[in-house]
């Protein structure tokens, strides 16, 4: 099929997905995955084009993650979220790591599956909090702060996973040096960078958009040539320019990122339609799913919030997403890959439902726990 015809069908399905999601007042991500799955059942799409879309979406996502890395903004949040964020990492990464080691017996796959299991989806959760006007909730700063913390850890974990091999120490040294240099450039060169952006903006908005696309793609290509993850290049461009004219980046590149991320989820659905899931992966995937719910719901135990609020925050953090999808492509064992893909897709759907209905679920569970403790007190009396 001609690419132009394919894209007209793809965008038609995506429009349907957006309308349906808006009608149900839920995250668009689910609609995009379903639309991609439907498309995959009916048509084929060029492999190379899918890879380009995936890679570009990831680069733009990492560029925006880099932009969030403002030390000034992060400092006040970090003191209040440290306990929750560290619990989140220890609990979720360890469970994923242990499950990965049990399934594969390989250290590489254990780290990889730990990294798939650990991070919640910022894209799904932030959108839901916005749709449901839940940024006013008392737990919102801790949720958002923890999501940012997860992003930081994921940058390092992806660096480790991609660098895994004979030259791992050298590659990690390059990654850490590059991150440090980007932070130093952000602090020391800020007035010059502001001046540079103003002078580019003096021409047209397009000049700025294209200049930054050039920077993102060229640094990413350089890192890819060095056999280090390309996304690190995009991330570092974001770090260098973080805290400088954030709103204008949102205006000039935000829409492009949103479109590519929508296509990213669409083609994840498309890929799922071409995978034959055997019954044997259903049990391990379901066990992982239950563990992933239990571990995220427990994360806020040390937050100092009331039990009902802790549970509401925990249910909100259940859905995994972009990082889990991205990393599941690195699994080399077919059966394990099937298990993890099924786990990720079940988690995205069930997790989004849970995040969306977190208040109701928290009330139910809180009531149940109160009744249980009341019964226990009654029995002991």
């Amino acid at each position: 099929m001609e690419p132009i015809v394919s894209f007209s069908i793809i965008f038609l399905l995506m429009v349907g997905a957006v309308f349906l999601s808006s009608l149900l007042r839920t995250s668009y991500v689910l609609g995009y995955i379903l639309a991609g799955f439907l498309y995959g059942q009916l048509f084929h799409f060029h492999r190379e084009a899918i890879e380009f879309i995936f890679e570009t979406a990831v680069l733009l996502l990492f560029f925006f993650l880099g932009l969030e890395f403002s030390l000034r903004k992060l400092r006040p949040i970090f003191s209040s979220i440290m306990r929750v964020s560290i619990t989140d990492f220890i609990l979720n990464f360890s469970i994923g790591f242990a499950a990965g080691y049990l399934m594969t017996g390989s250290l590489y796959h254990a780290i990889l599956i730990g990294a798939i299991f650990y991070p919640s989806s910022s894209i799904v959760i932030v959108k839901l909090l916005e749709l449901r006007h839940r940024f006013s909730n008392i737990e919102a700063p801790i949720i958002v702060g923890t999501l940012i913390f997860e992003d930081i850890v994921m940058i390092l974990l992806i660096g480790v996973i991609v660098a895994f091999g004979p030259q791992i120490l050298l590659k990690l040294a390059i990654i850490l040096t590059a991150i440090a240099l980007a932070f130093i450039a952000n602090i020391k060169l800020r007035p010059h960078l502001e001046k540079l952006i103003r002078s580019i903006e003096g021409h047209t908005v397009e000049a700025k958009t294209i200049s930054f696309l050039f920077l993102i793609f060229s640094l990413s290509a350089l890192f890819k040539k060095m056999d280090i993850t390309a996304s690190l290049g995009a991330f570092l461009v974001g770090v260098v320019f973080s805290d400088i004219s954030e709103r204008s980046f949102e205006e000039s590149l935000g829409n492009l990122k949103d479109i590519f991320l929508a296509l990213f989820f669409f083609f994840f659905g498309y890929e799922l339609s071409h995978i034959h899931f055997s019954l044997s992966v259903l049990v391990p995937a379901s066990i992982l799913l239950l563990l992933s719910i239990a571990s995220k719901v427990s994360v806020f135990y040390l937050s100092g919030l009331k039990r009902k609020t802790r549970l509401r925050a925990g249910f909100t953090m259940v859905p995994r997403g972009e990082f889990s999808i991205l990393l599941s492509h690195y699994i080399q064992m077919e059966e394990v890959r099937g298990t993890l893909l099924l786990f990720v897709v079940m988690n995205i759907f069930l997790g989004t439902f849970m995040a969306d209905n977190a208040s109701r679920l928290a009330s139910l569970l809180d009531g149940l726990l109160s009744r249980l403790s009341g019964m226990r007190r009654g029995t002991s009396a």
Partner: protein, 160 residues
């Protein structure tokens, strides 16, 4: 009153207010200018109000220190009949972006004046002529209605 604030990437800024009497309310300042005001009780949101940028400005005027409201009360007729006060956001690529107030010569060219500038939630009153306007700044302009409209056009496009 204790105020805690933090930035939500891609969304805006969240302020949490704890009053002396133990009441808690939250203000979400979105990047698109909308405001969301919520009252919390026992860690639960009990009421939320969404305000457009204009409504937020009106509320801010009412909540402003008494000397401003007294002034407005006394001069209400003049304000509404003759004088206009309006806010205006400087965006990328606007004529005024990157220029000092001295370079702009706004009062000479339009008759209206900039009385304050809001930058990153900080309010700068009586800005100095050497102050450079940046994208994202919100300027408060005072003048006759037609002068304020002229000033907005001038700041955006450079022509009158």
């Amino acid at each position: 009153m204790r105020i805690e604030s933090f930035e939500i990437p891609g969304v805006g800024k969240r302020y949490e207010f704890h009053t002396k009497h133990g009441d808690v309310f939250v203000l979400i300042e979105r990047l698109d200018g909308k405001r969301e005001l919520s009252i919390l009780k026992d860690e639960e949101v009990v009421a939320t109000v969404e305000l457009s940028p204009e409504e937020a400005n009106q509320l801010a005027l009412i909540l402003a220190p008494s000397f401003i409201t007294d002034f407005l009360d006394k001069r209400i007729d003049i304000i509404f009949r003759k004088v206009a006060i309006d806010s205006f956001e400087i965006k990328e690529g606007f004529f005024a972006s990157g220029k000092t107030l001295r370079e702009l010569q706004l009062r000479n060219k339009t008759g209206a004046s900039i009385i304050s500038i809001m930058r990153n939630s900080e309010i700068i009153t009586n800005p100095s002529p050497d102050m450079v306007l940046k994208p994202g700044d919100v300027v408060v302009i005072i003048g006759k209605k037609e002068e304020v409209e002229k000033a907005q056009k001038y700041l955006a496009k450079g022509d009158l």
